[in-house]
């Protein structure tokens, strides 16, 4: 228990901060994933074969390649790509992007591929009559989506999105390879300096279990809220 003391003698406060970091990365990645899904879901449902193809390449490649490989691509290639774009605007200094941005982007792109599939499935399982009724009522395109499609889609999507959240949360442990101090990295540091890896990695496992447990409880509440009337 002394090992977990807060302050200079133990690792309690460090692990607490690391847990907050894991939560922050997961939420950021999930939001980045949503914005990717917002772009690629319409492409998937589009009438144009070419747009379908682009979206399919995105989801197939990302879901078929290991997360770790994607993270390495961003970790080693991220600053290079930014510097390439910056040099086009005449900026030739070295740019270093921090591990938080690289990590959340890498995990975000992965989570986005899963979210895209979830949203596509949810929209496709909405009854066709709903779209037609919305049109007949003379609602504008925006209102059709915002008032008719979105609420129904969310109800169908939330159970699957909770799976995506779990995957995203667990994937953040892989960012530790880039040196971002989240639960896994902090446990690695603590295990190295105290020579007690069994305790710290087991504690990390407990922290992850706690995070998944609490988030499941919260998502269940959300599920109840969005299935009112059913």
């Amino acid at each position: 228990m002394e090992l977990l003391a807060f302050g200079d003698t133990g690792w309690g406060d460090e692990l607490f901060r690391a847990t907050l970091m894991t939560i922050a990365v997961s939420i950021t990645a999930m939001l980045i994933g949503f914005s990717f899904a917002a772009i690629f879901t319409p492409l998937k449902l589009s009438k144009f074969k070419f747009l379908n193809l682009i979206a399919n390449i995105y989801t197939t490649v990302i879901r078929g390649v290991p997360e770790l490989l994607v993270i390495y691509l961003f970790f080693f290639g991220g600053s290079g790509a930014i510097m390439f774009f910056a040099s086009m605007f005449g900026y030739n200094e070295y740019i270093e992007i921090n591990a938080f941005v690289t990590g959340s982007f890498a995990i975000g792109i992965i989570s986005g591929a899963y979210s895209t599939e979830v949203f596509r499935g949810a929209i496709q399982s909405i009854d066709k009559g709903q779209f037609e009724a919305a049109k007949v009522l003379g609602l504008s395109k925006f209102k059709q989506f915002y008032k008719i499609v979105l609420p129904q889609m969310l109800r169908l999507a939330i159970p699957n999105l909770s799976n995506v959240w779990q995957i995203t949360l667990k994937d953040t442990s892989l960012i530790s390879v880039t040196g971002l101090v989240e639960i896994m990295r902090q446990s690695y540091i603590a295990a190295g300096s105290t020579r007690d890896p069994l305790f710290f990695y087991s504690f990390a496992a407990v922290l992850y279990l706690l995070l998944t447990f609490i988030s499941m409880k919260l998502i269940n509440k959300l599920e109840v809220k969005y299935s009112r009337g059913y």
Binding site: V61, G64, V65, P66, L69, S176, L198, S202
Partner: protein, 223 residues
């Protein structure tokens, strides 16, 4: 684009893909047995056995695979009595540690898949067997297991692909699998995009093969 590097690194990555496939197949076979065992325990009426099996799958599905590998590879070596026992011959090898972690992980997911497959078997089929005077044991082996396997094929196919991606974590415990070699080449040449295309392509090819194999099996065993 450095095409020369892509061509040069291809055979190296292909060799590494063999390591990945070895890790995958061994852990899937062991994981299947663990999964079947725990699926049967889950269906047991004894509440303690039932809860134990549920706890196993909850813990292994709720924590990242990376934590599981690190606990087994770095953590278990700390236990003095384990170090002096014959188990240490296995646990000091990163290869076997990775396989133990993968097998336990995929076993947890497989047990859930098989459990739900067992539960969807219509009671009428089992009753039909009973009324024919077939013993419970034979009903289980000859009726329930084949139906459960057919039922769980699509979900198990996804699990194989997830596990294929999971084996990339073996590179964190010094194994040179496909991801490990890819990372090595990236960090020595600083050409991440080229290496990603080749290594990612090999992974996608393996995913493609597995996907079609499962589809073929689904068709073959459909009824």
């Amino acid at each position: 684009m450095d095409f020369e590097l892509m061509i040069n690194s291809f055979p190296k990555l292909l060799n590494a893909a063999v390591v990945t496939l070895k890790l995958l197949s061994v852990s899937l076979i062991v994981g299947l047995f663990i999964g079947l065992l725990f699926a049967i325990l889950r269906l047991n009426k004894n509440i303690f056995i039932n809860k134990f099996a549920y706890g196993y799958s909850y813990v292994f599905r709720g924590t990242p695979l990376l934590v599981q590998i690190f606990i087994i590879y770095f953590g278990l070596g700390q236990i003095e009595s384990l170090r002096s026992s014959f188990l240490w011959l296995i646990l000091k090898e990163p290869y076997w540690c990775a396989i133990i972690a993968f097998a336990l992980n995929t076993g947890a997911y497989t047990s859930e898949i098989l459990r739900s497959a067992f539960q969807t078997i219509k009671p009428g089929i089992i009753e039909a067997g009973k009324s024919l005077g077939i013993s419970n044991k034979i009903i289980f082996y000859k009726v329930q297991i084949p139906i459960a396997i057919r039922q769980s094929l699509p979900a198990y196919g996804n699990e194989i692909i997830l596990m294929l991606k999971g084996t990339s974590l073996a590179s964190t415990v010094t194994l040179m699998d496909l991801t490990g070699v890819a990372k090595y080449i990236i960090s020595t040449t600083f050409k991440p995009i080229e290496v990603f295309i080749v290594a990612g392509g090999i992974y996608l090819f393996m995913t493609f093969i597995i996907h079609n194999l499962i589809k073929f099996l689904e068709k073959k065993y459909s009824y």
